[in-house]
Amino acid sequence: MKWLRWGVRALGEVLITVSLFLFLFLAWQLWWTDVTATRAQAVTIHTLEKGFGPAGTPQPRVADPQAILTKVPFGQAFAIMRIPRFGTDYAIPVLQGTDSENLTQGIAHYSGTAFPGQVGNFAVAGHRTTYGKPFANIDLLQSGDTIVVETKTNYVVYTVDSHVIVTPDQVAVIAPVPLHPGVQPKQAWLTMTSCHPRFSATQRYVVFAKLVRSIPRARGLPASYMAVPAGTVG
């Protein structure tokens, strides 16, 4: 009898401990990773902006600005994504390569896909929840919304075209012509992938955007592109 009581008590304490650890893990995943990632990403943005120079900075003429980008090493931040629908202060670094480490530090660019403004598909992935959740509200993007990708040489402006929800193995969404693998691209696309549904990873929410224009940094970004679209909540 004494042993039975001891056993029940020990089991109870173990279960309580396990539940405490689970709650602690939830707190870390859902709250703390946002705190640290948001802070780290703000630092990256600051560094990038400093490296890019203020808007209107005359850039040395380069024959092929994209050539510089194709040499970006894995893990390095090389662009800033701005989405007025998510607020005028929304600025997230874009890093080269989509491993889990890069995804905690901002938006991750699929290696091997086009770079901003290039003909083909500039494909990126971002967290829907946790780690700063850059694509938390990806489902609020509407066709016609502006997305600005700022690089050292250009402001690359895209507008949202459409979205699809697919299973995680549908790599066709990041093909040079989205959803049509093997087809030769004639225009520049932007593809954003994120978790779907929120807090799950069973599907991917994918947004396609088309290039509008690429503006040399020296000319600056017209303010109209950063206007928050009507109907934005929050």
């Binding site: 290696s111 790599v171 992938t193």
Partner: protein, 64 residues
């Protein structure tokens, strides 16, 4: 387990309480800084990229 821990700690109860608090904080710090970041990639809800490994080469790990 918790009873034994309490009995093991030295001093009167305020000291024991303080020691317990320190222990709890220590556990939280170890979890937040090392344990959780290490196990997070294995959690089933953290995926957001598409992959099959076929059409695209793996990550470019070297500087060109």
């Amino acid at each position: 387990m918790y009873g034994a821990l309490w009995r093991l700690m030295p001093g009167p109860w305020p000291v024991k309480l303080l020691l317990s608090l320190v222990l709890v904080i220590l556990v939280v710090v170890v979890c937040f800084l090392w344990l959780f970041p290490a196990i997070a990639p294995y959690m089933p809800f953290n995926g957001n990229s598409v992959q099959s490994g076929l059409p695209f080469p793996g990550p470019v790990t070297s500087v060109i």
